[in-house]
């Protein structure tokens, strides 16, 4: 042992070489992490990480998170006409019809009382509006000369913001704001409201037992059809959540992935034979097919998608063709490599029985490469389900389009949350489907 470390011994060339290689490895072990660190520092400067903190909108994150699990109901009074409107998310589609309102709102002539819960009570009347906050007091707003005048216990806490023309109050129970034109109260409640039926549906607000009764033995609400069918159609055509549209969009996305992947596989198989050294003796043709694969892969899905949407217009077929075209390049390369790696003995065995070229390919080659090809095709099917979401956003089809539209409006975050959940479920479903098929079709996988 000591011999190794003893420097006074004459160093043999082997000894020196080993030491040198150790030193080199040690240098690399330090240099690589240092280089990575240096690159990351450069990147964080070039990406302007420092400026990110200023641009980040944490309040947007809060909106997003609260919309994930809750909804808000707006109770708005127009200060000019005195009209009071109760609307879920402030949308037309979620407006309560006249004479119908949630039980926490009561409208009595000109006086509207809103119970936000936990003792927070908002009242609108002719003099103005007031909000009672337990543990603080009454925030009274009167309208004087067209401007809101605040009258509240001093000192004014920071959750009440006062501007010349607007007073707003933010509490855990809800938000309240008064401006010249209108007075608004937002109440937050858990859950996605109207997910099953919108307010104008006869099934809105029915309990589970009532629904079961109506669906089975109850009298028909609509003479022309069964209650169960009526229910299903009310849910399917829900104007707020548009379940019918969403289900179609998910289906379109899966359709794009399926059509694209399978068509690419069917087209690439014969082309793969043309590009494999052991099946295509003509060098120039083989080279041409291979360069074509390289070209298709090099141009990339993004550019193909852009070119194809110009020719075929928006829709799922354009997306399917884009996926098919892009994958033809990848499949062609992989298939031809698989074909070059086959065992020639089986082909010779088939040939010895007098089989022609087609029969040799069918019985000597295909059984060998099938498991490899199928595994690759199924992997692509699964990953293309994800790509189809993105491609859908570009070509204008499927769930990707719905998602980007919902995000661009920056309003319907509960719908964004809904779509995200659906996309993840869809991808997981395709994941397990392709895994199941792989196990089913490929023995030993």
């Amino acid at each position: 042992m000591t011999m190794f470390a003893n420097a006074s011994l004459p160093t043999t060339p082997l000894h020196a070489a080993v030491l040198q290689s150790f030193a080199r490895k040690r240098r690399i072990a330090f240099a690589v992490p240092l280089m990575i660190l240096a690159y990351l520092i450069y990147a964080s400067i070039s990406f302007d990480l420092a400026g990110l903190a200023a641009r980040a909108r944490i309040d947007n994150a809060a909106i997003l998170l609260s919309d994930f699990w809750s909804h808000k109901t707006h109770v708005t009074r127009d200060n000019r006409t005195g009209q009071v409107v109760v609307a879920i998310e402030g949308e037309n589609k979620g407006t309560y019809p006249k004479g119908m309102q949630p039980d926490w709102v009561s409208i009595n002539g000109d006086v509207t009382t809103i119970d936000l819960g936990a003792g927070h009570i908002v009242t609108y009347d002719l003099a103005g509006a007031r909000m009672v906050v337990p543990s603080y007091g009454t925030i009274n707003i009167r309208e004087v000369g067209g401007k809101p005048v605040l009258d509240a216990p001093l000192p004014i806490p920071d959750w009440i913001s006062v501007a010349p023309n607007k007073v707003s109050v933010t509490t855990d129970a809800g938000r309240f704001s008064y401006s010249r034109s209108k007075v608004e109260t937002f109440k937050y409640q858990a859950g996605w409201e109207l997910w099953f039926f919108t307010l104008d549906s006869p099934f809105y607000g029915k309990s589970l037992a009532d629904m079961a009764y109506l669906a089975t033995i109850g009298p028909r609400l609509d003479e022309t059809r069964l209650n169960a069918a009526y229910m299903l159609s009310e849910w399917w055509n829900n104007r707020m959540w548009q379940h019918g549209v969403v289900v179609w969009a998910i289906f379109e996305t899966i359709l794009m992935a399926f059509l694209g992947t399978m068509s690419a596989a069917i087209v690439s198989l014969p082309l793969g034979f043309l590009a494999a050294r052991n099946f295509m003796p003509l060098g120039f043709l083989r080279g041409a097919v291979r360069r074509m694969f390289d070209f298709i892969r090099g141009v990339d899905g993004l550019i193909w998608t852009v070119i194809l949407s110009r020719a075929f217009g928006p829709g799922p077929m354009t997306g399917a063709i884009a996926i098919a075209l892009t994958d033809t390049g990848s499949f062609g390369k992989m298939f031809s490599e698989a074909l070059e790696n086959i065992d020639e003995k089986q082909v010779e065995g088939v040939q010895s029985t007098g089989a022609n070229a087609l029969q040799r390919a069918r019985f000597g080659v295909i059984p060998q490469v099938m498991p490899v090809l199928l595994a690759q095709v199924l992997y692509y099917l699964e990953s293309n389900t994800r790509s189809a979401t993105v491609i859908g956003a570009i070509v204008g089809g499927g769930i990707g389009l719905l998602l980007t539209q919902a995000i661009v409006t920056q309003k319907d975050w509960e719908e964004v949350a809904y779509y995200m959940v659906l996309i993840v479920l869809m991808v997981m479903l395709m994941d397990s489907l392709s895994g199941w098929l792989r196990r089913k079709l490929i023995k030993g996988a």
Binding site: I36, Y39, L40, A43, S46, F47, L49, L52, R55, A56, R57, I58, N60, A61, L64, E252, L255, M256, F258, L259, M262, S263, I266, D294, R297, G298, V299, D300, G301, L302, I303, V306, I307, L308, R310, A311, F312, G313, P314, G315, P316, M317, T318, A320, R386, T389, V390, I394, G396, G397, L403, T404, I407, Q410, M420, I423, V424, V427, M428, D431
Partner: protein, 292 residues
């Protein structure tokens, strides 16, 4: 033997005196099933295309003759203005570098994340064997969420720029590489690790000195492949969201006629970048895996 092959339940048995016809019968049945499946599959594929064609804004046969119109228009205009191309190239190189940087940083961060996750999720190597399912499910979830979902949400929260794309692609990369890394690490020889353990090495030392040297070539090869994929992903995310050459392409496309020289320049830059990266990564992957 026959009972083993055909199961214990009584039923028709092949005639052992006539093995040829029994064999042919079996082959025929197999082919029939295969044929029916193939037919079903083709019918599904065909009706799928018909349906997709129906729901598309433009039909397939109407669009097919026009497929070259757009490239022809773009290239002819670019050819007319070819004198402009050189400055336009120079103008878009910074965005190309940004796209490359997004791909590289997200691959790097994703790979670092994947190393930690995969070692924690590999049987025989894990620091806390009981938590293996937790880390595996984490990787599954990271893989399942498409990049665009994370990117768009992060753009809303963080504002524009390349960081949302880096986080989105990096998370996906972490999940995807984590799975592959863990498959490689499963096959690592445990003897060096036991040797290190016997001299009192900590878990990190065992992984760094015992596992890493064994798996590094394969891991690097997978990471390079992922870099190719991420380059494409970052171009696409730029087109849908913000940042990089994809965004430039979208802007140039929105300008439409008169700016097609930019479109061509961006197409060309992207094409060259992808081909060069593919070639370099191909070369290194061959060297890493084949060892020469």
């Amino acid at each position: 033997m026959v009972d083993i092959a055909f199961g214990p339940t009584p039923g028709p048995r092949p005639d052992m005196n006539d093995p040829k016809s029994a064999y042919m019968e079996m082959v025929r049945r197999k082919r029939m099933y295969g044929g029916i499946l193939l037919l079903l599959f083709m019918a599904l594929l065909y009706s799928g295309w018909v349906l997709a064609d129906d729901r598309n804004a433009g039909g397939f046969w109407d669009g097919l003759p026009n497929i070259l119109d757009f490239p022809a228009e773009v290239f002819s205009e670019a050819w007319r203005d070819r004198a402009n191309l050189a400055p336009i190239f120079a103008q878009h190189v910074p965005s190309l570098i940004e796209t490359l940087n997004i791909a590289a940083v997200s691959t790097l961060l994703g790979a670092l994340f994947a190393i930690a996750l995969s070692l924690l999720a590999t049987r025989g190597l894990a620091r806390w064997p009981r938590l293996i399912p937790v880390f595996r499910r984490t990787m599954d979830a990271m893989r399942a969420i498409p990049e665009i979902v994370i990117a768009l949400v992060l753009i809303y929260i963080l504002g524009g720029g390349p960081v949302p794309a880096v986080i989105a692609i990096g998370l996906h990369t972490g999940g995807a590489l984590g799975k592959l890394f863990s498959e490689v690490a499963e096959n690592a020889d445990l003897k060096p690790i036991e040797g290190l353990q016997s001299v009192g090495a900590t878990w990190i030392q065992r992984m760094w000195l015992g596992v890493m040297p064994q798996v590094a070539p394969n891991w690097l090869s997978y990471a390079l492949l992922r870099f190719e994929i991420n380059l494409r992903a970052s171009a696409i995310l730029g087109f849908v969201g913000e940042g990089g050459i994809g965004h430039d392409l979208k802007l140039a496309m929105q300008w439409g006629q008169g700016r097609y020289d930019s479109v061509v320049a961006i197409f060309a830059l992207l094409f060259v970048a992808i081909v060069v990266v593919d070639q370099i990564s191909d070369y290194f992957r061959h060297r890493l895996v084949k060892g020469h």
